[in-house]
């Protein structure tokens, strides 16, 4: 059992506040992804859980043990690093066996476990090689095997796929998902790649400027962003935002059209819609087409709606051309609303 609890954790580096009171619980065997742009504090949070950094305030619990004062070796964790950190002076076998030897397991157990995890990661034929003789992808496999061999309660991964090329990344992503699902460990995975986050996570914690903006399952994060930032960060292309002014009870004027929305006391809201949630129907928002980018299955159309940038993903059969005026009708149940002051979602 390894539930991870983070209680009111904050971290400052000198005068720079990297993390603002983080509270989060990651349940046993959950695959949690920390997602955010570089500098958002996700790696710092992971390193605090690992014990490579000490929090300035707050507590970290793994299972029923408070660990924030313990060194990494006493936390029951294993970690996979961004640049793999495969020891160059040891063979692949000795790399995987490293932690097991530190735990003073007997040779037979070590051999058995190394072979098992090596098979799992398909590197059994590389056991006698050195890191210098391996490709990036193979090194990555060694690093994962080394972590798995520890049979830890918690596996921490810091952008483990970011140094691989695109194809290999895709392959490793699927493989990691399978291996980790079978391993019964709690996983915390840091990435800046939203596709990776979506495909791997049970739950995603979106981080921004040292705070967790939203933590939920991938679909929920995508469909119901809790804040402007999440909508603008998740999704490629991201959400469109337009100004909305109050036009009566539950009615909002957006670019000259009226939409029904929340019954809020405010005068202004932000209207948001995903590019794929608009259709080329009459009576929608008037849009002047700037650029049309054919992407195969569909076209990405960049338009100007009421002076704002607006992107739409439409069927590639449509013959929309740059310079034309088109009407883009948002799907009513996909429209989201945000408070421009707090940037939070308004129901």
């Amino acid at each position: 059992m390894a539930e991870i609890q983070i209680k009111n954790v904050a971290k400052t580096f000198g005068s720079y506040q990297a993390l603002h009171s983080i509270d989060m619980t990651i349940s046993d065997r959950e695959f949690m992804v920390l997602l955010g742009a570089s500098g958002c504090g996700k790696t710092t949070l992971l390193r605090i859980i690992a014990g490579l950094e000490t929090p300035s305030v707050g507590e970290v619990w793994i299972g029923d043990k408070r660990v924030d004062h313990l060194p990494p070796r006493q936390r029951g964790i294993a970690m996979v690093f961004q640049n793999y950190a495969v020891f160059p002076h040891l063979t692949v076998f000795e790399n995987i066996a490293f932690g097991l030897r530190m735990n003073k397991l007997d040779d037979a157990t070590i051999k058995e476990r190394v072979n098992r995890t090596a098979n799992l990661m398909h590197i059994e034929q590389l056991l006698q090689r050195y890191s210098g003789q391996l490709s990036g992808g193979q090194r990555q496999r060694v690093a994962v095997a080394r972590a798995l061999a520890m049979e830890p309660d918690v596996i921490l991964m810091d952008e483990p796929l970011s140094n691989l090329d695109a194809l290999l990344r895709l392959e490793m992503r699927a493989e990691l998902k399978g291996v980790l699902a079978d391993s019964n460990t709690t996983t915390i995975y840091v990435t800046h790649d939203q596709v990776e986050a979506m495909s791997l996570a049970d739950r995603i914690a979106v981080m921004h400027e040292g705070r967790i903006v939203q933590a939920n399952n991938p679909v929920e994060i995508y469909r119901n962003p809790a804040a402007h930032f999440v909508g603008s960060f998740i999704g490629n292309p991201p959400m469109n935002f337009l100004n909305a002014t109050k036009g009566g009870k539950g009615k909002w004027n957006v670019a000259g059209k009226s939409f029904s929305g929340p019954q809020s006391g405010q005068e202004n809201l932000e209207f948001a819609i995903r590019p794929e949630d608009v259709t080329l129907n009459g009576g929608g928002l008037d849009a002047k087409v700037r650029i049309v980018e054919p992407l195969g299955a569909h076209n990405l159309v960049t338009c100007d709606v009421d002076g704002s940038l607006f992107r739409a993903v439409i069927d590639s059969d449509s013959k929309v051309k740059a310079g034309e005026h088109i009407s883009l009708a948002p799907m009513q149940d996909r429209i989201r609303w945000f408070d421009p002051q707090t940037t939070l979602a308004v129901a």
Partner: protein, 285 residues
């Protein structure tokens, strides 16, 4: 390209090729000359060393070594030489141990930690470079007499360590900086404490470089003349011995002594050649 006639067009590339050929000839010749500039004087010393004392004093000189070991035998049999050699080696070894022992932890701290006072320490290290360090021998001579360190191996090794320490710190700093922190961190997550991680991961990786910088410290001490001459009286090192007897000793003794001084240096520079530039590259900062 505007060419009026085909003949010009054809001859021009030829000229370019010729010019390039001539250029690379000049280049190769200069490289060769500069190599000769370094090697020929050493060769002359070798010829002298491998001549009999009479041949050394003779005129004109041969340019081919007669392979007579008379000079070297005379040198080996000269009273005090054995002791001087032993002292030189001992001082150099102690210097080597002290400068790495004191310098490497500092280099590690500089490469791994951000802390208050780091800049001040770096300035202290850089300051040593703007000072003529052998002069330290003067005040230390007084200090050592008071503490009983005068005319001892340790006393001289301390001065030589001051010479070698800044280099040891900078070199080990660059060595440790070359080892990714992640390797150490990985070891910590795999069950090591700081000391174990250092011993099992960092040390095996930096050992060749540490050896090179230790050798460098050895050479600095082995070659040092001024402090050695000021601080030793009975326990002369080879350099101090040779300097003291410059006016009185015969030529063949000087040449054989010079040769014995040079040989270890040649071997050492060869052993550390791979690290020489990495070491000095970082010393720029």
């Amino acid at each position: 390209m505007t060419t009026s006639s085909p003949t010009v067009a054809a001859s021009q590339p030829q000229k370019v090729v010729d010019a390039r050929k001539a250029g690379s000839m000049v280049f190769a010749a200069s490289v060769f000359l500069l190599c000769a500039w370094v090697l020929v004087p050493i060769y002359f010393l070798l010829v002298n060393t491998l001549s009999s004392p009479e041949e050394v004093a003779a005129f004109p000189k041969t340019f081919i070594p007669p392979f007579n070991f008379g000079s070297l035998e005379f040198f080996a049999g000269f009273s005090g030489i054995g002791n001087a050699l032993k002292n030189s080696a001992l001082v150099a070894i102690v210097t080597m141990i002290m400068s790495i022992g004191v310098g490497a932890p500092a280099g590690y701290a500089l490469s791994r930690f951000e802390f208050r006072g780091k800049a001040a320490f770096r300035i202290l290290i850089l300051m040593t470079r703007a000072f003529p360090l052998p002069l330290l021998a003067l005040p230390l001579a007084v200090m050592f007499i008071r503490t009983g360190l005068d005319d001892t191996i340790i006393g001289l090794a301390i001065v030589h360590t001051t010479l070698a320490l800044p280099f040891a710190v900078l070199i080990t700093f660059s060595l440790f900086s070359g080892i990714p922190v992640e390797l150490e961190e990985a070891a910590w997550t795999l069950g090591c404490n700081r000391v174990q991680a250092f011993r099992k991961v960092v040390l095996p990786l930096v050992l060749p470089g540490i050896t090179a910088s230790a050798i460098f410290a050895f050479v600095i001490s082995w070659n040092e003349v001024f402090a050695a001459s000021v601080l030793t009286i009975e326990n002369r090192t080879l350099t101090a011995f040779l300097l003291q007897s410059l006016d009185v000793s015969p030529l063949h003794l000087k040449f054989a002594g010079g040769f014995v001084l040079v040989v270890p240096a040649l071997i050492f520079i060869f052993a550390v050649r791979k690290y020489l530039f990495a070491m000095w590259g970082i010393a720029n900062r």
